[in-house]
Amino acid sequence: MSTLLPFHKSILEEIHDPATSDLLILARGLGLRRIICTLMKIYDSNKNLILLVNATQEEESAIGEELGIMGCRRPGLRVIGYETSSKDRQNLYKQGGLMSVTSRILVVDMLQNDIPVHLITGMLILHAERVTPTVIEAFIVRLFREKNRDGFVKAFTDQPEHITSGMSPLKNVMKELQLRRAHLYPRFHEHINKTLERRRADVVELSQPLSQSMSEIHHAIIQCISTTLAELKRSNKELELDDFNVENTYFRSFEGIVRSRLSPVWHKVGPKTKQLINDLNVLRQLLFYLLSYDALSFHAYLETIIESNTISTRTGGPKVHQSPWLLTDAANIIFEVAKRRCFIISSIPKETAVTHQPMEVDDQDAWDLLDELEQPGTNNQGKRKLHERPAWLPKNIQPVLEEQPKWDLLSEILLEIESEIIHLSSNKNTSQRGTDTVLIMTSSTRSCDLIQDFLDTMDPDAESGWKGRVMMRRRLKGYLGWRGRLNPNDNNNFAPTNQAGSAGMTSRKGKEREDNLSEALKKKDREKMEKSASRRRTRGGAPSTGGGRSATSDKASPEVIDVDKPDDMTLWSKDDPDLAATLMNASNDFALDLLTQDEFESSYGLLPPEQTIVIRACSDDTDDRMLAEIQPRFIVMFEPSVEFIRRVEVYRSSYPGMAVRVYHMVYADSCEEHRYLAAIRKEKESFERLVKERGSMLLTLEERRKPGGGGEGENVIRTISTRLAGGRRELTTEPPKIIVDMREFRSALPSLLHAAQLLVVPATLTVGDYILTPDICVERKSLSDLVSSFNSGRLYTQCEFMSVHYKHPVLLIEFEEDKSFSLETISELKNYAKPTQKYPNKPSRPSTFNSLSSEPPSSVTTIQSKLVLLTLSFPRLRTIWSQSPYATAEIFKDLKSNQPEPDPIKAITIGADGDDPNDVGKGFNTVAEELVRALPGIGSGGLASSSGIVNTVMRRCKNVRELCELKEDEVKELVGVGPGKVLYEFLHKGE
C-alpha cells in the first residue's frame, strides 16, 4: 500500500465525514486514487452500501486491486456491469459493501426500485468534471436525493481544465451534484508545496534535437496545419476564430474548442468545414506520431491516409471531398521525406549480379573510417553483418532506415545508469533504498513496445543511428509484406522483375505474403518468449562510442554478480512471491522485458530482477502503485509528462532516504516540448480560475422533490383534469408514465422527462424508443442520427415497424440545446453544393436546375427531400420537431394528458418475436448490434427479416467473433441460403 503523505492526510480529514457531501479537485498525478481508496476502506462494511459511479473499466479493476492490497478483500469492490443479471444485482445490493456500478445500469435499477435507494449510504462519483445538467450522473444524483437525504455524495476530479467553459462552471457542477462544499488542491497549494518541496527529485533534463529529415517533416506538418487553419477561417468568415492558432492545435482539446465555436451553426457547416476539422485532427496526430513512431510505421501510416483518401477512385465514383492539405507542396514534402527516411527506390537496380555485396559502399567506407578513428579495436564482423544486404530485399530498394534520435540517447543514458549502479554498489557503506530496476516511461503502450523491441535487438557496438538496425530490418520486411496488401492493384513501387529472388515479398499471391508476415510475427513471438523465459540480462558493458567510461564499465562488468548486495537480495526474496507475481503479470500486460545479449549470457547467468529494465506506458493513477512496487532509483522519461513528474515527486517524498534520479527526454523545438510547457500553464490557469470562482460563488438552495415522479399538487390537478375531460376512466393518482427503451438512457431525454414529473419506466423495446400511450410510439432521432439513419436506411425500417404495430407512429426530430433550430437551409446549401451530375437518373430537369441555380441541383441529397419521401411513404407517420430535449419533455407531457397509460409488458412484447417478455434489465452491446446490422445479408432484408435475423444471429452467437468462426453451412442455416452466402463471402473475403 502506498503511504499517505501529510497533504493526503489533511485532505482526507477534510472530506471523510459521511455526513457531508464534497467535491474534491486535485491536481493530476498527486494520488487521487490513493485518497479514494483510503476513503472506501474507511467506509467498507457490510452495513454500508457504497456505490462507486462513473468509473471506467480500467479504474474499476485498478481500484479493486488497490483495495485488495489495502486489505478490503472480503468481499472488496464488486463490479456491476451489464453482464450481471438483475436478480444478481438485487442480491448484491442487499448484501451491502463497496460496489462499482455502470451509470446506465444504476439509473435503470433506481427507476425499477431494484436498488434500495433509501439504504444507500453514499456515492463516490469519479470524473466530476464531465457532469452537466444532461448527463446521466446528474440524473442519478437527483433520483438518489429524492429518496435519500442523509446519504453522502463525494465527487472527485483531477482534471480542472475541463471545468472552465461557460459562465460559472464550478457552480454548475456543484448544482447538478447537489453539493455544497468544494475543495481545491492545486500543485501550488501551500500544504502540497511544503510536502513535496522538501525533497526535490534529481532531474536530468536532456533535450534532443530532431534529425534533419524529422525537422523537415515537422516543419511541413506545421505548414499544413496553418494552411488548413487559414482555409477554415476563410470558409467561416462570420465566426470569431481568432484563437485558432497553430499552438492550440497541438492539444487534443482543440477539436473541442472548434466544435464549441462552431456548434451554433454545426449542422449548417458544410462537409468541407467538417473535413477541415478532421484534417486538423489527423495532422495533430501526425505530429505526435512523427516523434513516437519509427520511420517505417510513420511512413506506413501516411500511406494508409493516402489510400483511404483515394479509395473511391478505384470503385468508380470520384472522391468528393479530398482533404485540401493532401494537395499542398508541404504534404508532398511530408510524404517524400518520410519515405526517404525508410528507403530509396532506384528505378534501375544497380548491382544485379552481386547480391551479397554491401549496398552502401560509400557509407560503409565512411563508417569504417569513423570506427577506426574512434575505437580501433572493435571487430568489424558484426557491423559487416548489419550492412549486408538481406536476400529478401527487392533489388530496387535501398534501405535507409533512419532511427529515432531518442533511441541513441536512450542507450547512452542506460550506459550511464549502469556505470552509476556499479559505482554505487561497489560503494558498500552507503545503504541505499530501492531497487536497481531501471524504469522507462513512455507516453503510449505502442512506443513502449517499440522501445522494448529496440532494446531487445539493440546492438550496443553499432555506431549511432545503427543500433536498432536489426529491428528496423525486421520491420522493413514486415512493412514490405503489408505494403503488398494495402493496395494489390498498385505495385508500381516495387519492380516486379526482382520478385524471383525476394522470397515472394512483392509477389502478388496473398498467401505467400501472409506466410512471410506470419513467419516474421512468429519469429518475433518466439524471441519474446525466449527472452522473458530466460529472464536474464547482462550489463551492456561493451565498449562503444563512450570512450573512457565504457572501458571501466567493461572491466567492472565481470564483478557485477559478486557485488550484488546481500540486503538487496533479502529484500527481494522477502517480497518474492508477491513481487514476482506482479512482475510476471506486468510482463504479460505491460511488456516488461529483460535485455539479453547472447555473447554475455553464458558468463553471467541469471541476474536478480532488480537489475532489469522495465518499460511502461504512462497511464493513470495506476502508475503510483507501480512505482511503489518496483521502487526504482533510476527513471527514464522517454516522453515528457507533467503527471508523471508529480508522481515521481510524490513517490520520492513517500520514500525518504531514496535517491531517485530522473532522466527527462524532450525533443528540442518540437511540439512535444511546447505541449509539455503549455499543459503546465493551462492547469495552473484553470486552478486559478476555479479558486476565484469558489470565492465569489453563490449557491442556491434546492427545493426538495417528492419521490415517485409527481408532486402532490400535480396529482390533484391531473385528477381534476381527467374528470373534466369526461372520460369514463377511474380517477388515477399514479403519475403519468412513459416507457423508455434501455438504449435511450445514453441520451439526456429520460433524465429530463423525469425532471418534468413523469414516471420513467425502463424496458427493452424492439419497436420505438418511447411509448407514450398504448397508441403513440416515438422514435427519437437527433440531427446527426437522422442523417446517418437516412443514409443507412435504418429509419425506413424503423418506421415500417412502428407503422405495423402502433396507431400513431411518431418521428421525433430533436435539435440540440444551445444550437440553432433549423435544418441546413437552402441558401447555405448552394454555397458548397456544386452542381455535380451525381444522380444521372434524373435527366429531365438538369437544365432548369442549373439555370435557376438557387436550388441545389441534386435535390435528392438534401435531408429535406429524404424527409419528404419518408412522410409520403408512411402516411400515418407524425413528426415532432423539438428544439431541445427540454422542449421534448414538454411536448411529451402535453401529448400524454388525458390519454390512457401504456402497458410496459405489452410494449416489450411488441415486435419481439419469441423473445422472453421478462427481458427487462437485459444488457446490450449496442455497438456489436450495430456492427452486425451493417453486415450484408443481415440488415438488408425487408421488414420481416432484418430485425428478426439480427435477433436470430444474436441468439445463436455469443459475439461477433463467434459469428465469424461459423462454417459456411452454418451461416446459411442461420440467415438463409442466399443472404448466408453473401454474408459468408463478405466475412472471409481477402483471406
Binding site: Y82, S85, I826, Q864, T879, Q883, C964
Partner: protein
C-alpha cells in the same frame, strides 16, 4: 369536428403542376416554388402537391396574431386527402410553445408537421413533394448493392473512434473481416493510429457478448 363538405378533387391541367389555393395569392413562398408548375384552383388545402396530398401552410408570425386561423382551416379540411401536412414556417424566435400546441392538435387531426425555416425551404419542400409524388422510397431504404469496401467501412465505422483510415489499416493488415475479429489487442495496438481507447472499443465490439444471458 363536423365533417365539412368534401370539395371535388381538382385535377391539375398538367401532371406536373401544384394546385394553389387562391387565398395564398401574394404569399412570398410562391416565388420560391421552382421546377414545378403552379396553378390556382378551389381546394380545401393551401397547396395540393399530389393527387391525395394536401398541404396547409402556416407562418408562425401570423399564427401569433391569429391563433384561431389554423384550427378553422384544419376543420375545413375535414377528412379529405390521404396525406395531410402542415408546413410551418418558423419565423419567430419564441417558437417553442406554438410548436408544442400545434404538435398536439395535429396528432389528433392526423396531420404531419413539417417545419421549415425560410421561404426558400418552404418552396423547396412543396416542389419536392410534387416531384416525389410517385417516387418509390428506394432512396431511403436499406441498400444492398454496395461494394465490399463501402460495406466494410460502413460496418467498422460503427465502432466509436474508428475512422476510414483505420478501416483501411485493419483491412490491409488482417485481410478479412473474420481475421479482424480474431485480432488480439496486442496486434491492434501495434497498428499505426491505434490508441488504447480505440483498441478497447474494437475489442468490446467483437468479443463482448451481444446480450447478457440471465
Amino acid at each position: 369536428m363536423s365533417s365539412a363538405r368534401v370539395p371535388p378533387v381538382v385535377v391539375p391541367a398538367s401532371g406536373n403542376n401544384i394546385i394553389v389555393n387562391p387565398c395564398q395569392r401574394g404569399n412570398p413562398v410562391l416565388e420560391c416554388i421552382r421546377n414545378v408548375g403552379k396553378e390556382f384552383g378551389d381546394i380545401a388545402a393551401d397547396y395540393q402537391v399530389g393527387r391525395t396530398t394536401g398541404v396547409l401552410f402556416l407562418s408562425l408570425r401570423y399564427h401569433r396574431l391569429h391563433p384561431e386561423y389554423i384550427h378553422s382551416r384544419v376543420e375545413k379540411l375535414g377528412h379529405s386527402y390521404d396525406h395531410r401536412f402542415l408546413l410551418i414556417l418558423c419565423d419567430i424566435t419564441e417558437h417553442r410553445d406554438p410548436i408544442r400546441e400545434l404538435t398536439k392538435s395535429c396528432l389528433i387531426n392526423n396531420i404531419t408537421i413539417i417545419v421549415a425555416f425560410s421561404n426558400d425551404e418552404v418552396g423547396h419542400y412543396l416542389s419536392v413533394y410534387k416531384q416525389f409524388e410517385s417516387k418509390p422510397p428506394d432512396m431511403i431504404k436499406e441498400r444492398v448493392d454496395k461494394d465490399y469496401h463501402a460495406i466494410l467501412r460502413g460496418a467498422l465505422t460503427n465502432i466509436p473512434k474508428v475512422n476510414k483510415t483505420d478501416v483501411e489499416t485493419l483491412r490491409s493488415t488482417f485481410g478479412s473481416f473474420a481475421n479482424i475479429s480474431r485480432a488480439t489487442p496486442n496486434q491492434l495496438r501495434n497498428l499505426p493510429g491505434f490508441g488504447q481507447v480505440k483498441v478497447k472499443n474494437i475489442e468490446n465490439a467483437f468479443n463482448k457478448p451481444f446480450r447478457n444471458d440471465t
